[in-house]
Symmetry: C2
Subunit: 432 residues, 2 copies
Amino acid sequence: MKEIKIALLGFGTVGMGVYELLKKNSELIKERVGIRPVVKKILVRDPKKKRDIKIDQKYFTTNIEEILEDPEISIVCELIGGIEPAKTYILKALQKGKEVVTANKAILAQYGNEIWEEARKRKRFIGFEASVGGGIPIIKTIKESLIGNSISSIIGIINGTTNYILTRMLENNFQFKDALKMAQAKGYAEADPTLDIKGIDSAHKISILASLAFGFYIPVSEVYTEGIEDIDLMDLKFAKDFGYIVKLLAFAKKRKRKIEIRVHPTLIPETHVLTSVRLNYNALYITGDFVGDILLYGLGAGKEPTASAVVSDIIDAIEYSYFEKKPFIKYPLTKNNDFFNIRSIEEVEFKYYFRFSAIDKPGVLSKISGILGKHNISIASVVQIGRQKKKGSVPVVMLTHETKEKNVNKALEEIDKLDVVTASTKKFRILE
Amino acid sequence: MKEIKIALLGFGTVGMGVYELLKKNSELIKERVGIRPVVKKILVRDPKKKRDIKIDQKYFTTNIEEILEDPEISIVCELIGGIEPAKTYILKALQKGKEVVTANKAILAQYGNEIWEEARKRKRFIGFEASVGGGIPIIKTIKESLIGNSISSIIGIINGTTNYILTRMLENNFQFKDALKMAQAKGYAEADPTLDIKGIDSAHKISILASLAFGFYIPVSEVYTEGIEDIDLMDLKFAKDFGYIVKLLAFAKKRKRKIEIRVHPTLIPETHVLTSVRLNYNALYITGDFVGDILLYGLGAGKEPTASAVVSDIIDAIEYSYFEKKPFIKYPLTKNNDFFNIRSIEEVEFKYYFRFSAIDKPGVLSKISGILGKHNISIASVVQIGRQKKKGSVPVVMLTHETKEKNVNKALEEIDKLDVVTASTKKFRILE
């Protein structure tokens, strides 16, 4: 066998990237693996559409059956995005005995159970390196390089859009809205940025990583999610004064049989290596019982990095397809779901950053700290910034010692009802 | 097949780590891969030696033939270190049809040609993830995750000992000797630290990475190597004042058909992510034509991280051994050695940091800069620090624009002969 035939479903940015990579580095890949992956068909909605690429019309088809029924095509790359028809195509391709590669995080985070189960049942390969972290080899690292480790923690900056916005806010003194506009102008944020800024994209990705690391399917619906859309520049600056950088972090942690899985803005000590992850870069910080801490860093999105990940999956799919025996099923679902359960964020302990908006008069701090004390929240440091602005309210910033989220929620509810408090309190969790 | 039998050659720190990992995470691995790797024999010199581990004597043998001739043992892990007898054992194991896993960078960097050729000839797997970067999955990332990329550059902090020493010098105001003692006390440096501090260990590792990335064998003898043994605390501090951190970096770069491969202390701009790699951590910064820049970071040595890497190779070896067809030979040597050649460091252009030791009197700077000018070296900035110490000499620190190494060598030779110059000039290259 000298060539292996591939079909691409979808020919957007990533699809074009994959096509270009396989063309440009065709000789290199042949040299390295002994087999040349060749695109045979590309499923598109409109073959006549103007594209920024020179490509023969013969590649295009609008009919999925032409791909599914072609016995020469052994690998199908789903690069359409969205749930349908992508999900149906993936399942059909597996049923037709094809290996599948996908970059589709939404499907895996919402229907991973179904997809992985079908791949297992049909003994087919399903690659999804490109679904998290673009060109960063996070999936392979968890599945293969850390295969001897019990993984206890994954902490990631896995959304480039929000990381870009937060970096620009702090470094260029932008408010959220202006930084978002800049991200959109640069092509780092979409016209409708909801999925990114609300943390949903990060939640999709951490669902996939956690499922893989812990061995059972954890759908995105289990992920506690907060975005960055309400972050005020002021808080990034106060945090910096205390020695912290604010990042949107995704967490997946295992302690005994309890899993924590969540996405929220977090204060990171400036000495932590994750604070050096700026702009649209992504990074994943993983802790295993033998490997210790490792960090993977790179571009988490974009045409070329994502194509790099898709092609590494294509090569694995070739390897898998070419061999006759398939002993290894390195997917989630090896464990029964009953084995673990999800720890509610209410039960998790954090150190906190609070910013109270309070009227600047004697006795206010005593009222606030009284309520905190009643809920067993002990104060580590407090700063009152400025005096007597118009409306007579000032920001009071406070860092706490470790305490349970549910205590904090109760305390803040009480505090926000005080008549000396003029706006709802801002709360951020701090990374230890 | 439910179990696969393994032999360990050597039972030092790493050997014990592998044994412990396979014991502790045995169930986890079985769950993930469907097969349990089990240690059957361990080659040791003295079975009676006192060890920090409870283990049955039945595992031990002093006779390599007992392992090589055992048809039940399909994977041999060479964890002895040094060249002989390790090299002979690796070759014999391959000849006997066993898959081999090794952590031995010295053998691969000096005899990689022979080892990889034998593996290829015998169609056996040879894993060497543990030879570079401890638990950091750098080998798999290059071999598999970046398989679609033409890699143009690898820049690494790949020696924990020297990184620890440089970190302690700068952060704790230690001279080299004191920082070395501290590293030895912590177990991060050996009693004889030569291989580490002279950069030889880094040279071994970059030889392996470059061979893998560029596709032909580049032995360690081709690596231009400088260590950190002559670094003065003063230079770390002056560099910091200019906004740079000094690290021992290993480089492998490809431009057209020219390869640069070298190890030397380097000034890195403080904004670069590599400067956040402190203490005994390692990091690798890789650039590919599609993936862009990625960084892998973690503990580059130690019992547990290294065991994690060895076990990931064991699982790959199982996969390889279990399949009947072996289409992929992802080793160096795919290209003819004539295809590339090594660029002499004399031909490489750098920006430089110089520290001259000069007598503090008028006209000295003019003499020095005159010679630099004659050799086409243009000065970017210059600082003369302090005045008139005893012996009447002061440090003059200078940063240059880009210039060829050979110009610099000629200029410094002339400058160091000036009678106003009291000691040989210190020179560091700057990372762009």
